[in-house]
């Protein structure tokens, strides 16, 4: 079974230390929720995992199946089976969803013998996944994320997740900016894809998405460190009490 291990991870952005020793293990088939207040380092963790050049690892390690990926460029990490559903997917004008998805699909699914999937294989898989997620055909002819509504953007992210079939998916605030109907559609999409082959790390500020994507573990990130871990009851406590109590607890710990 594949395993994503974050070991005492320290990371900084523009010289500012944001992560101060994060420890977390996600196994394939598990769903972990990572919650925390604004500024706790949630998005920094997501971007650091995929290797955004602005986020520098200053200590610790990230391992996929025991192998460090810290020195790899984002494309190599994707090929190792890592996926990030972006909080704010950027648009790329002039590039159709179709050509983008084909390029990504080919890049990730090209086998050891350097054999890329055929156009036919890609189309079959794409049609199947579009049907599964209720994505309209016309989506393919639009430019990547350009003029997409918040819901469309998130749905496009989930479609990519379905097509690229990673071992580990990090969902960075996938619920932000969505109304309740869009949230349900997107979350149900994730539930359809999740299974024994996928390890999921759901990063969220609010508990509401966890009604649809049931986590096996819940962690609280506070000031760049995981300060509490538990089951679903932890997310309910956060929903009820907010994040204020973490401060007191953190004070006690340090």
């Amino acid at each position: 079974m594949a395993r994503l291990e974050i070991r005492d991870l320290h990371a900084s952005v523009e010289g500012r230390e944001i992560l101060n020793g994060v420890n977390l293990i996600v196994n394939q088939g598990e769903i972990h929720a990572l919650m925390g207040p604004n500024g706790s380092g949630k998005s920094t963790l997501a971007n650091t995992l995929l290797g955004h050049p602005k986020y520098k690892v200053t200590g610790g390690d990230i391992l996929v199946d025991g192998e460090s990926i810290v020195g790899l460029t984002p494309d190599k990490r994707a090929k190792k089976g890592l996926f990030l559903a972006f909080q704010y997917p950027v648009s790329v004008p002039g590039v159709t969803m179709f050509s983008f998805l084909r390029a990504a699909y080919n890049a990730v699914h090209t086998d050891e013998k350097n054999q890329a999937p055929t156009l036919f294989e890609f189309r079959e898989e794409m049609n199947e996944k579009m049907k599964l997620l209720g994505v309209d055909e016309s989506f393919m002819h639009r430019y990547l994320n350009e003029g997409f509504s918040g819901g469309e953007k998130k749905r496009a992210e989930i479609l990519q997740l379905a097509l690229l079939k990673p071992k580990f998916a990090v969902l960075d605030e996938t619920d932000s900016g969505l109304d309740i109907d869009a949230l349900r559609v997107v979350a149900e999409g994730v539930s359809k894809i999740a299974g024994s082959d996928l390890g999921v790390l759901v990063i969220t500020h609010y508990q509401r998405i966890l009604k649809y994507i049931k986590p096996t573990f819940v962690h609280v990130l506070y000031e760049g460190r995981i300060t509490a871990s538990g089951g679903e009851e932890l997310s309910l406590k956060l929903e009820e009490k907010g994040y204020g109590w973490l401060k007191e607890q953190a004070g006690v710990v340090s």
């Binding site: 995929l50 002039g94 590039v95 050509s99 390029a103 990504a104």
Partner: protein
Amino acid sequence: MTAASEIVTDDYKTKYGFADSTGYLDNRRRGLSEDVVKEISRIRDEPGWMEEFRLRALKNFMDRPVPTWGVDLSPIQFQDYYYYAQPAKETAKRWEDVPPEIRNTFEKLGIPEAERKFLAGVGAIYESQEVYNSLQKDLQKQGVIFTSVGNAVKEYPDLIRKYLGTIVPPSDNKFAALNSAVWSDGPFIYVPEGVKIAMPLQSYFRINAQGMGQFERTLIVAEPNSEVHYIEGCTAAMYQKSMLHAAVVELVAKKGAKIRYITIQNWSKNVYNLVTKRAHAYEDASVTWLNGEVGSGRNMKYPSIYLLGRGAKAEILSMAYAGANQIQDTGGKIVHLASDTSSKIISKSVSKDGGQAIYRGLLHIARGAHNVKSTVRCDALLLDEQSKTSTFPYMEVMAEDATVTHEASVGKVGEDQLFYLMARGINERDALSMIVNGFVEPFTKELPMTYAIELNRLMALEMTGAVG
């Protein structure tokens, strides 16, 4: 041009920059003088009026200073160039009759293949001469003319006298004067009233010899309600020393006629490309210039359209790629001289490795021209910190009821865009290509598929080509 050796990329050299032997060069035609011009006229067996046209233009050229705006032209040594070279006996009608080495070159460039697949006619111009020409039989029957301007001087003197130099007068600018003095082959296309040519006609220009000057002369006349779609491509051998391509292109679109003119400019970087392209569009006519500028070291090109009749339409769609040691000084000029006319300029430029892209454009709407609509949009994309871009959009709007919109943008390829694509497994080089191709897509989508693919490929080649 300085240190041309630094910009030699192996890819260009193998694919386009190779050279053939140059036994046809005549040293007596090196440098520029009255004698050289008379000699050109003599070899081409021209009537007296043509020789006079050339000599008047030569005087105009000699009297004018080299322009000091735009790119630095001071390194051009006019006496170092060859002004005329005729590598074949005559224009062949069959590829088998083209001298083998030259035929082989055009085969390597894929011209006969493209001709078989989707072209209605082809002209192949090598140095100063059209070495091959073909036109589909049914078009010949409909009265379409597709030949070189040189041959047309002899075969259709009335048409040439009526139009040549009327759209771009020899006195227009220094390089139009130079071209008018020493002009050599380029196509003459005549489309009779009501004839619509469905498949494109193409000319391919090739410069082979070091120090060669090529003076393309193109004239297209589209009679009322006719349609023509023309494509020109070009490449050159690669040398340390510079080559010069100074073209004059004249288009006439009569009432209700449509001309679509596509250029894929892929000269080697030792070429100065200094061209004057202009169109006259009469009532309800429409003219489109599509310019894909990837090659040449120094490029100055501003195709223009004069809207002379009510309801005429103009479009200038361009993309320019400026890589290492390249200056792409390009743009467009539209002059509205009649009511109910409309125009659109879209310019996209990409700069990388210290390249410089400049947009220079003029929109003029004359007093008394009513209900004129125009849009101008210029977008520049910079791929690194060393590259530069600037925009000079001149507007002279004399009419009060004109609707004019102008937008300009300068962007850098964002770290976030690259990260997004790379996080999906796409490597950096492909991700960059994808962003750039997407950026120029509003231009490439207007091209026939084959040329759109070709242009994207050329840019990818330039972007990844080893520099130095």
